[in-house]
């Protein structure tokens, strides 16, 4: 195709490419340096998770949920166990609910920190990357001392959580929360406040409000486009309605806002964590559940606000110990489709930042 005497050509980016955050593949059509079209190709990490759920009991599938969005394991499990609890009508003890909120929000902070880190790395900001991962390590420490693993926690159980937290957990969490404003100041100083970074991201890759709504974009990407929608507020699950927090909204609709809203959400998560730390009661951490989980015939849909977007769990039970069908609606998978819509006309360098701002995790996209 000839446009104004120049020739278009296509470049294959990925699956092995430093800025595709895993095994995403894009066929980029370029006119010089300008992107004319992008075809996302997914499926390089398709592991058949939904099918595997059918051959595992309800309890056995819990560890697999951590591997969906591996940056924020707890929140995936939260969606799954709450869906099963909804199906069976199990009441979860108070303390377990609070612990779930604490872990889910810590997972959100860890995920957002890694997103900011990799977003800065994609425009060659090695030092911000180091600082963000440095602070993420403290969250992983908290995870490890409680659940025993750094990323794939397997902490939530149907009816509660697996262990109570160790004694040193609460002071460590508190000191982390106290240090958080300083960290955020540092990220702002080195990355968000930097004029070069701003010039790279501001008014790049505009996702207008109407388009975002039409494409069913969820999560922070939607909120950066000026829509105040958060499942934690719109349809509170667990005990989220007890906490007092805001849903940050930005109206810039650009790459910078999609990065910056993560920083704001970290601050909101800090508020939730502080309240949870203040209000957490003593008590048991797991409810009395039957030894063999065997829900009655029926189906359930439960949705949670994953760091990457809205995550829905649709579980069909046929009365046996194994689910008949599990369908996972992941935010990242739906968010992929905004890439071709907003990238046209920008340079190949902007493609990288726009892709980073979408915050995809391929485990969640390909399932």
């Amino acid at each position: 195709m000839i446009i104004d005497g120049t020739q278009e050509y296509s470049v294959n980016m990925g699956p092995q490419h430093p800025s595709t955050h895993g095994v995403f593949r894009m066929v980029v059509h370029l006119d010089g340096e300008v992107v004319t079209n992008v075809e996302p190709k997914i499926g390089y990490l398709h592991r058949g998770l939904e099918k595997m759920a059918e051959s595992r009991t309800y309890n056995q599938f819990v560890p697999y949920t951590d591997r969906l969005d591996y940056l924020a394991g707890p929140h995936n499990s939260l969606g799954y166990v709450q869906a099963v609890e909804k199906l069976m009508g199990i009441e979860v003890p108070e303390r377990a609910e609070y612990l779930r909120v604490i872990f889910a929000e810590l997972g959100r902070v860890a995920s957002h920190l890694f997103m900011i880190a990799s977003g800065s790395l994609d425009i060659c900001g090695w030092t911000p990357w180091s600082y963000c991962t440095r602070d993420r390590e403290r969250i992983l420490d908290l995870f490890e001392m409680t659940a025993g693993n750094r990323m794939t926690l397997n902490y939530f159980r149907i009816g509660g959580v697996s262990h109570d937290v160790p004694d040193e957990f609460m002071p460590a969490l508190k000191s982390f929360l106290d240090d958080m404003p300083e960290m955020i100041e540092e990220y702002y100083g080195i990355f968000f406040g930097n004029e070069i970074a701003q010039s790279r991201m501001k008014s790049v890759g505009i996702l207008p409000k109407e388009l975002a709504e039409n494409l069913l974009i969820t999560g922070a990407n939607l909120r950066a486009s000026g829509v105040q929608y958060d499942v934690r507020k719109a349809e509170p699950y667990g005990i989220y309605n007890r906490f007092n927090f805001n849903v940050p909204v930005l109206y810039g609709c650009d790459t910078y806002d999609r990065h910056f809203i993560r920083l704001l959400e970290i601050q909101e998560s800090r508020k939730i964590l502080q309240q949870a730390l203040r209000d957490i009661p003593e008590g048991p951490v797991v409810a009395k559940v039957p030894k063999v989980i065997k829900p009655q015939v029926g189906k359930v849909y439960h949705r949670v606000e994953n760091p990457k977007g809205e995550m829905g769990w649709y579980i069909v039970s046929n009365g046996t110990t194994k689910p008949a069908r599990v369908r996972i609606r992941t935010g990242a998978f739906v968010n992929v489709q905004m890439l071709p819509a907003i990238v046209t006309g920008w340079k190949i360098q902007d493609l990288v930042t726009i892709f980073a701002s979408m915050d995809l995790v391929l485990g969640e996209v390909d399932k």
């Binding site: 309890n59 560890p63 030092t127 440095r134 025993g148 794939t152 160790p166």
Partner: protein
């Protein structure tokens, strides 16, 4: 003013340049892992009653054990293999173990040269170690 952010960034990096370094020197200094860390498995064969609960609860058919009946009609563990290459290290088996024979351990230096070595003979491993807990190494 344009350039303020740039100067602030330079200030932060200079501060960190002279700041302390946070590295943990792994091979010289072993990390102090919390007791709940799930890095590998350890078995105490004397405690095992061959009930097979761990085999049943495992999501991924990692564990393979055989047992035989002794004179008192009591089941005795004969072999206990874990295909650690399939393991999720989820800890469901250790939670289900009624006698605490199977434990998670903090041993993380598990790299091997051959895939066959990933099939752990847990009884042999527990004998090889001189620690009471059955950890190797």
């Amino acid at each position: 003013m344009f350039g303020n952010g740039l100067i602030k960034g330079l200030r932060i990096t200079l501060k960190r340049f002279y700041g302390p370094n946070l590295t943990e020197y792994y091979p010289e200094v072993k990390p102090n892992l919390p007791p709940r860390t799930r890095s590998s498995m350890a078995l105490e064969p004397e405690k095992c009653i061959s009930c097979g609960l761990c085999v049943n609860i495992c999501p991924n058919q990692v564990i393979n054990l055989t047992s035989e009946k002794d004179g008192n009609n009591k089941r005795v563990l004969k072999t206990y293999h874990m295909n650690i290459g399939r393991c999720l290290l989820c800890g469901l088996c250790t939670q289900s173990c009624p006698t605490g024979a199977l434990r998670l351990s903090q041993e993380f230096e598990n790299a091997v040269y051959h895939r066959e070595e990933l099939l752990w003979d847990m009884i042999a491993r527990s004998k090889r170690s001189n620690k009471p807990s059955g950890e190797e190494g």
